[in-house]
Each structure stands twice: as structure tokens, then as C-alpha cells.
Symmetry: C2
Subunit: 387 residues, 2 copies
């Protein structure tokens, strides 16, 4: 088991009706929140009204910053920073999915930074402070509600980069599974695949088998995500399935899923970020395309033992030959991704094979920035196995 550091101070308030805690949490950390949200789905579901009502009742002044897109944009983020400064906002309230929270994090750090906020994403600047951030999660997927990272896309250069700092941990995240009830079947599936992928990155790239407890946690998260998604296929409003997906997705990227592993590559994400930056497809859709190709690439290279282990322990595949089990595991996973409505090939989302060199080239920027040892040739191979 490798040495590790674990620190995660985010307070999670989980369950039905927990939105009522929002004013207490706001008052604990500031006076005037910048209320960050997306394109209006929280208005359709009534969550927006609920929050505004409770803020008004408690005479909490706030400034709205709406219109955050999935794969949130640098330009829009900078508008948020400007708005927060002009209005003297002293905390950020992000209500939405991972994109909204990531933009909220970037604004929280950007407000207190004199330089260009993009510096944090290219490694030119370090986050040394940030405004307090509260989140209300409406989509189970990215884990951003309980971690210290965020991802922003710079439109002009099609760069989808990430920043990290302990200052980015939300102070409090309110996770009410009922706020995910209105998420479509398709986006619920993308969220589950995103959460699975966060576990996969460490689980399949570790070079040792000695972190027994972390393997157990990883497999437990995956079994729960799959089991709950199967329930939702029949009963989209099943509360317990929604709740288990929500908490599992949070645990899938709050660091517990990689403690004690040797090596932690984020290669599926490095490649996928290029797909969603260039073609603006949903992150989960991009991942469901890349993951089977990535696993095939590994199996071909002889790294099939952990794939077989996953197949046995999570997908209940029987057999004695690990190579065969690994092959079946990849097929079964890919088939399941299709069944729940996610694309599993580049062609399904109209990305032509001829673009592969361009995507690989693009991916190398992030691979280098994140310090991974993947050659462009290997990325092209993974993409070819995903075509």
C-alpha cells in the first residue's frame, strides 16, 4: 500500500428537504452570495423559486449569475468574477451539476486573484485563497461537490483544463436526491458513467494489488452505481436508487477511491476532455466511448488482470481464464453502456476516423500538463479501438 494524504473538509448535508439548511450555511460564511446556476432547469423544477423564497424570507441579498453551460466556458466565468467583484459578493452559491459547481469554484478563486484566472489551469498561477463556496447539487456525476478540482473550457483554443487547490473544497454541499428526479434517463446514464470512470482511472491504472480496502471501496461504488441504475431503468423516480447514485458519485471522486494506489492516471479524462472540448458532446457520453477502447488497449498490452478482477467482482462474470474474463468484461460493460442509452463509438456521435490524429494531438497537451507518460501513438490506438 502506497503512502497517501487524505484531507476532505466539505460538509455534506444529504437527503430529502435539506435545502432548508441553506440560509444557516450562507450566514455562517458570508452575507451576499453570487448565486451561480445554469440554463434554467432549476427554474423548471421549482428549485430556483424555493431558494429565492428562502433567501428573501431571511433578507439575504444576492446577485444572480446564470447561464452556465455544460463544459463551462472561461469567458462566462470571467463575467461571473467581474459581477462578484462589482457587487461585493463575499461567497459563492452554486446550484446545479458539476459544470455549475466548477464555474463557481473558478469564480471563488478568481475574485481574489489579480492575474488571469486561466493561469490556475495552465499551471502559471497557484490558488492561494478563494471565497467560501456552497453548493446545491442537482446532477450526480462529477463529484465536484466534495473535491478540490474544477474544469473549465477556453473556447478560442478548445482547451478543457482543470485546476486544483484545497481552497476549492466547498464548505458545504447540499445533496437532495429529489433534486435529481427530473434529470433525463440519458443524462442520468451519463452521470453514472462519469462516476464509474472516476473509479476506473485509479482502479485500472494502479501498478499494485496491495490496497485491499481501496479495491473494496471501488468495487462497492461500482456495484452500487450499476445496481441503482438498473432500478432506475424500470422506476426512474425510485428515491433510494437516486440517493445511492448521488452519494456513490460523490464518493467516486473525493479521493477515497484512489488511496494507497501506485500510479493514478487520468487518461480516459485526458482524451475525453479533447472530445467534449472540440465537439461539445456531454462528458459522460465521451467517456462511454473512450472507456471500452481504453480497456481493450490495456487488455491487448497484457494488463488484463484487474479488468478480469472487475468482471468477476462487479459484473459477476464466471470463469478460470483471466484473459477471456477480461474480454467478456469489456464487452459486457460496453453493451450495458449502450443499454442505458450512452454512445460507445466515435461514429455514433459523428466523429470521423480521420479526426483521430487531431484528437490525439489535442489530448497530448493535457497528458503532458497532468504529467502522464502516454505517447501520442498510444492515444491514437485507444481512439482507434473506440471508433
Amino acid at each position: 500500500m502506497e503512502n497517501f494524504l487524505f484531507y476532505n473538509p466539505t460538509k455534506i448535508i444529504f437527503g430529502k428537504g435539506t435545502i432548508k439548511n441553506i440560509t444557516r450555511e450562507i450566514k455562517r460564511y458570508g452575507k451576499k452570495p453570487l448565486f451561480v446556476y445554469g440554463s434554467g432547469s432549476i427554474k423548471k423544477t421549482g428549485l430556483y423559486d424555493k431558494i429565492v423564497k428562502v433567501l428573501n424570507e431571511n433578507t439575504i441579498d444576492f446577485i444572480e449569475h446564470s447561464g452556465v453551460k455544460s463544459n463551462p466556458r472561461l469567458k462566462h466565468t470571467k463575467e461571473g468574477i467581474k459581477k462578484a467583484r462589482e457587487n461585493n459578493c463575499d461567497l459563492i452559491l452554486a446550484v446545479g451539476g458539476g459544470s455549475v459547481i466548477d464555474e463557481g469554484k473558478t469564480i471563488a478563486a478568481g475574485v481574489l486573484y489579480d492575474g488571469d484566472v486561466w493561469d490556475f489551469f495552465t499551471g502559471k498561477g497557484n490558488i492561494k485563497k478563494a471565497l467560501p463556496l456552497l453548493t446545491v447539487l442537482t446532477l450526480a456525476a462529477t463529484g465536484s461537490e466534495m473535491n478540490a478540482g474544477c474544469v473549465i473550457t477556453k473556447e478560442e483554443t478548445q482547451q478543457k483544463f482543470s485546476a486544483h487547490s484545497p481552497h476549492l473544497f466547498p464548505k458545504t454541499s447540499i445533496l437532495d436526491p429529489e433534486n435529481t428526479m427530473s434529470v433525463s434517463k440519458e443524462y442520468t446514464a451519463y452521470g453514472v458513467i462519469d462516476a464509474l470512470s472516476h473509479v476506473f482511472e485509479g482502479y485500472f491504472s494502479t501498478k499494485t494489488d496491495t490496497a485491499f480496502i481501496t479495491d473494496e471501496i471501488c468495487e462497492g461504488i461500482c456495484r452500487t452505481l450499476i445496481k441503482s441504475m438498473v432500478i432506475l431503468q424500470q422506476e426512474p423516480l425510485n428515491y433510494d436508487a437516486r440517493a445511492n447514485i448521488m452519494w456513490s458519485a460523490t464518493l467516486a471522486l473525493n479521493s477515497l477511491q484512489k488511496l494507497g494506489y501506485k500510479n493514478f492516471e487520468f487518461i480516459n479524462h485526458a482524451i475525453e476532455h479533447s472530445l467534449s472540448a472540440i465537439y461539445d458532446i456531454p462528458h459522460g457520453a465521451g467517456l462511454s466511448i473512450i472507456i471500452p477502447g481504453y480497456l481493450k488497449f490495456n487488455a491487448q498490452k497484457g494488463n488484463f488482470k484487474r479488468i478480469a478482477r472487475f468482471g468477476k467482482n462487479v459484473l459477476n462474470i464466471k470463469g478460470a481464464d483471466e484473459k477471456i474474463i477480461a474480454k467478456e468484461t469489456i464487452e459486457k460493460l460496453k453493451t450495458w453502456f449502450s443499454q442505458i442509452g450512452a454512445p460507445t463509438t466515435l461514429s455514433e456521435v459523428n466523429i470521423p476516423e480521420k479526426d483521430i490524429p487531431k484528437i490525439a494531438e489535442h489530448s497530448m497537451e493535457l497528458i503532458n500538463l497532468w504529467g502522464m507518460s502516454y505517447a501520442k501513438r498510444s492515444v491514437e490506438e485507444i481512439l482507434k479501438l473506440s471508433k
Copy 2:
């Protein structure tokens, strides 16, 4: 899945050689630690010298408070409070197992409290602040290194009570599995049983089966503890087994193990605290006696489903009849406790059957204080099944 709140800000520095971080952590939180430790095992292992050396090299002044016993005593704790006050200590450095950390926590809170520190344990006083606490763990068992509770024994009244407050979270805990290498086979087993018991309390008392992910985490922790203990039986110095036990024991009582459960009884502990308070036996030994009786009591009452589930998922027991599986589970667990050197009956530790009413009477105090709905008659039944 029930609503929950999760908050755990303790920073964990885990692995070989991590003691070197101690001065940086001390300097972050204060100037003059009260260095709390036990009866001298850290002197035998060389850990004491290592810490003193690094403190001296960094000219960190410190005051020693040694002699903490297992089942730590109120009187000794009060001496620590006095010493910390007289010497203007501004943080606590607890180096040892759960007892040392618990006494450290109590001192941390007691120093800043005008009243009698025992008030925190009887519910007469609330902990509103505490000195910062750093821990260096030398025994995997109680989970105190990453939670907000502590247990102290008042000798005169034989009361072994607990206190809880978010102010009691250690700021930083250093977990180096090598510091547990010298722990005897017997105490390693007690530690594993203590950790298992922390999982059991929630896992077997929840009234619902809807927290899938928490069930997975619980079962994963238990499988890891058992698997690692089996390795240690053959190779007591196996680093990875020690490491997995250490991190699993921490996870077994940092709240993750009960999130979303309906009902969380701590009945094994309520009864065991009476045993170790009256007879001064090791906590893990008391638990290995009570747990089989508690499980038999549950099975007899018809609550055998979750016991059977545990048997199937953790102990790999096959079969179709849940009642039979539950029975086999209890027997297998009890046999295993014996195999690893723990007592499984009251008579083994020379507690006579005639004492059962007295022990039950004594347990009722804690049962009432913790707000559990157990009648004295039920406690007596559990004790009779443990005789």
C-alpha cells in the same frame, strides 16, 4: 436511504516514514505541545526518541504527559489538563492508541473549560472549543484518530462514558503502519475486533436495506480486516496487511460506515464499556465476548436477515435458508475470534454468571445516556448468551 450529515475535516498523513511531517503540523497549529503518551511502549519501539529528536532539532518546546492507561482514567486526564494550563501548552500531541488519543481529546477540550471536564461525558456540559489536537497512531482499533468522540473512565463510579463534539476532530493524524509492527498478536486481534464491531453496530441495527453503498463499504471494510488479519497470523510483519488494517480501522468509525442507515445502536459498546470499566479487560476482548451473544440474541428475535447477508457476503457461507446461514455465520465468527486469540465467553475472562444482573444494571446507565431502547432484561439475555 435516510438523511444524514457527513463532516470529517481530519487530515490523514498515511504511510511509511510520515512522522517527519510532525514538526510542520505542530508549527501550523501552535507552539508548545503537551506530548501525551502511554506507559512507555513508544520508548521501547524507538518512536519516542524519534519524535523527541525531531522536536529538539526544530527547537519546539514541549511538556510530557505520560502514563495514559488503556480505558483511560478521568483522574489522570485532569492531571493532564492541569499540566497543560500551568505550562501554557497551546496544542496537544497524542502519540499512541485510542486510549491516548481519547485522553488527548479530553485534555484539549478540558483546558478551555471552566467547569468539571466530566460534564462533557454526562451531558451536563457541551464542548464549545478545544485546543488543536495532532495524533500519531500506534494501534489500529478505535478510529479515534479520525472522529469526534472520546471515551474516559471515572474510576470511583466505574463509569466508562463518551463525549462528542466537532471540536474533537484531530487536525492531523499521522498513520504509519510500521508503528503497529510491534503490537502483539493478541492486541492486534483485539484491534481488528474493535474495528469490526464499529461496523457491526450500524450494519446489524439498521432497520432498512436501502443504503446500498454503505452496506458495500461496511462489507468491504470487514472483508479487508479479516483477510489482512489472516495474513498477519502467518506473517506478523507483513506491511500491507498492517496498512490495510490501519486504514480500514480508521474508516470503520469515521461515520462513512453508518451513513443513510435507519437506526444506529451502539449496544455492543454500551455493554462492553461496563465489562471493561468493572473488570478492566481490554476493550477488544470484551467485544469479542459480547458480539456473538448479541448476534444470537438478534437471530432468536427473528432479525437474522442481515446476519445471513453478512455471512454470505463476508464469510462466504453458502446456502438457501437464511436462518441456517445466520446460525453458521455466528458460529464461524465466534470460532474465528477464538482462532486469532480473543476470548468469546465471560467465563474465559473469569467473569462469573452471577455478575450478569450487576453488569446489566451498570450497562443501563450508558444505554439511557445514549438514548437506546434496550430493556435491562434484553441486556441480561445478551450476557447470558455470552456466558
